[in-house]
Symmetry: C3
Subunit: 352 residues, 3 copies
């Protein structure tokens, strides 16, 4: 892979670059017409989504046999990745780590900045550049919005850039979560996401996953969305405006039971009370936004129940045994979708 | 390997299952007549012990050459294990981790629950099920008695069970420690454990290892046991009753020097003062239960000195240089015994 | 590799051994005339340095292609290393870890002693010996001077020694840092270090790297050194005496600008205020010892700018874009030099 970046000479300063619309920034994070750094859900168009999903499907199938698994883990056996997760996230961390293992990528981990050289007065940018010296890819989760993007921007100005994959960047982006959600729809509907009725339930105001998922629905035709939430936690107006602009019909309601009957997918979410400012979550009765055993007979035989996990009480435990409860598969799909993304970034997707 | 479990439909609720005698529960953790989840020392009968020990011996021999080591590490190269160690235990952790490396199993680690999603209100069961999504085996150490067993029980009810290996479960079970202790006897006596006189020394009341070891002696013939301890820390009566039921002769004494002369193996243990309720350890003179340099001339030329480690002052440092001091080899035997167990669980033991 | 050590019977007690001159101790850490434990910068003579640098060069070249990388990572695929880093050092840790990955060595990590068995009253020596049971090499960083050496000394007395590599031992030694610094000179000057003028700048009194680098210059001919520092932080007299004894000319000055014009290499360092006793760093104006953008036009076209990193403000950020700024390559050279060292220790350097 050629490492020199065409963007070095033309890139503006970070302060000028950062506020630009994402659509304008995407080319800066591409190489030879392909996604290079994975930073925004908006980098996934329908063509790329389909390609990644087919790649993930192949990975699942091929690795079912040991010789296939050994072949897959030979494809990137010369690569080393660093998982730089300075914001706690065991679940996403483990998903990425095992995706690396599937692809044969060797891994190192930073999970705590207090032991790093940052204590010696180094800038975070120097720290990340140091770590990038040793590896071929950085998978990064960081609490500060924009930090992951800035890292990718900085690395692309150096003589030895490495791809940066966003594993969750503050509240703004978590593109591989969006990827795995759409992949789960893709698998659940045998590749046919068009014309589906998707119901999102819960704390839609503060949930990053439902926002990204709504956004990505613009890649599909005939989609109908229903947003079911307490009135305090309705979907934000920027997403609703986006849907109107793209002619995606939606309804907002508090009547979960009313809309579940026609749903093709029900996307449950927990209340995001870690974002409470003054205990507003406790003032809300969240129980109408739970999925219970009794609802299983209300929904379509083909309807799937999703959840980004972790859950609290939004889905009754006994529901897990129903074949339409796909959230555990969804969890696992994340690992495969991430493995597919790495295969794509390093250009070995064609060797499957 | 077929993943669907035959036990899903017949298994009772956990509250009814847990209190049953272990012998009744063993079939629930087996598959196709083989151990599937490794939870209890009682799962090891003489036949299985012999098979695991022969497998461990083969692993040691074959890996001595590089091509052999490469062959062994290709056997499970398609497997991923998670070491879920939420109770501190560097020693057991490292032993399992390197056993995985020997077998070519890729590993991920959970060593601290505070960074996990449990903080977001997830149940421990959901957390473990999440992690199981990414891997093919979970090796688990947990401070709560029964938690490892419950995990295995739960996983066996899902559509995608993975084997659970107990790496230490509260005070109740640490089956691979028992395995490595008997393996060390097996190696020390060239496979002939029958008719040996085994002396256990120290805090027998609170030491998990001496309890398991006593139990497993029922698999061998003509065994004679001597328990040497301060009277405050004598072997518990449940074990003594068990030995009586199985006609295994034993003596209890405070006279270490008296019994060491006829010993074939001396199993030293440290005082377990972390279990003190009110400083009772300090009230005891533990020095008569130390093995000193001067004792080396008292014991048989073929007698081996064992210790589960870590030690404090129970064995004088200069004893380490005597060839009969096998506790460092015992430590290493643990890694090989664990590697053999994994080879067995995944059915590649025949490929050695 | 034969594991029995010839030194067991002849070695004196640690208390007698430790204070001896390093030159006398080196044979105890060698095997078959080759370095076995890597403890002191003084173990590297010119012949060994050249051999390691040529090995590192080969590793860099060969791994450029995937089949070459796969070949290299097959060379030590049967080896397991433990990184025992109980003193925080993410940078050195990551460099060693990825060096292991390049060579195909499997790794385990100890990065915090509080979870280890040391809490159960075990001696540090027993702890390290335990960990050595599982692996073929220990890479160790420890805050206590002499601890790494003592570990190597102890291991060499056992029946199963493993090589010990010093990853930083208190203030006294950090041999692989010295190795990578000289390797960077070697690469920057196409293998010709003789007759160069090397300028070291900053806190020379308390910087371990400039001390080791000065020492290793005795292996080369016609070297001229300039030490540029605040008068409070001048190079210590033991090093100056050493240079005089070996007829290596040096000058001391506070005039950075005056000496930079003739420099072939400028080695920048940060102020080591973590070693302050009473805030003496704040009393010093360190700005005359910074390298700025404006200096780039003062120095030779072939002069290289080095820094052991992390940096604070010693080198202006915009300097990074100049091709003579080699400190990021220096960082990466460390990984290759360490990989070469491992190849050498295990005797696979000839298979490249």
């Amino acid at each position: 892979m050629q490492r020199t970046s065409a963007m070095t000479s033309v890139q503006p300063d970070w302060e000028n670059f950062y506020p630009r619309p994402i659509s304008e920034k995407i080319p800066f994070f591409s190489k030879d017409g392909r996604l290079y750094d994975c930073l925004f859900a908006q980098q996934f168009n329908r063509e790329l989504l389909n390609h990644l999903f087919e790649t993930a499907n192949k990975l699942k199938t091929v690795t079912h046999r040991k010789d296939g698994a050994d072949h897959v883990s030979s494809l990137l056996s010369d690569k080393r990745a660093m998982l730089y997760f300075v914001q706690p996230s065991t679940r996403t961390f483990m998903s990425f780590l095992n995706a690396c293992h599937i692809m044969g990528i060797k891994t190192s981990e930073i999970r705590d900045t207090t032991t790093s050289s940052e204590v010696k007065g180094e800038t975070p940018e120097d720290t990340v550049r140091t770590f990038s010296s040793y590896v071929d890819m950085i998978i990064m989760r960081h609490p500060a919005p924009g930090f992951v993007e800035k890292t990718a921007w900085l690395m692309n100005r150096t003589g030895r850039p490495v791809p940066i994959v966003n594993g969750g960047s503050g509240k703004d982006q978590h593109p591989t979560q969006a990827l795995l959600d759409v992949y789960t729809l893709y698998r659940s509907f045998a590749g046919e996401i068009d014309n589906k009725h998707i119901v999102m339930v819960g704390d839609l105001k503060r949930g990053r996953t439902v926002r990204s998922l709504s956004y990505l629905m613009k890649s599909y035709k005939g989609i109908k969305l229903s947003f079911v939430s307490p009135k305090e936690f309705r979907m934000e107006s920027d997403i609703l405006d986006f849907l109107r602009r793209h002619d995606i019909p939606f309804t907002e309601t508090e009547d979960f039971r009313g809309v579940m009957k026609t749903a093709d997918a029900i996307y449950m979410t927990r209340i995001q009370d870690e974002h409470d400012k003054s205990g507003e979550s406790k003032a809300v009765d969240y129980s109408p936004f739970h999925f219970r055993q009794e609802h299983l007979k209300e929904i379509k035989k083909t309807c799937v129940i999703m959840h980004p996990l972790p859950r609290r009480h939004e889905i009754e435990l006994s529901v897990d045994d129903d074949p339409r409860a796909v959230f555990w598969r969804q969890e696992r799909n994340g690992m495969w979708a991430r493995a597919a993304l790495m295969a794509y970034i390093f250009g070995v997707d064609k060797k499957l």
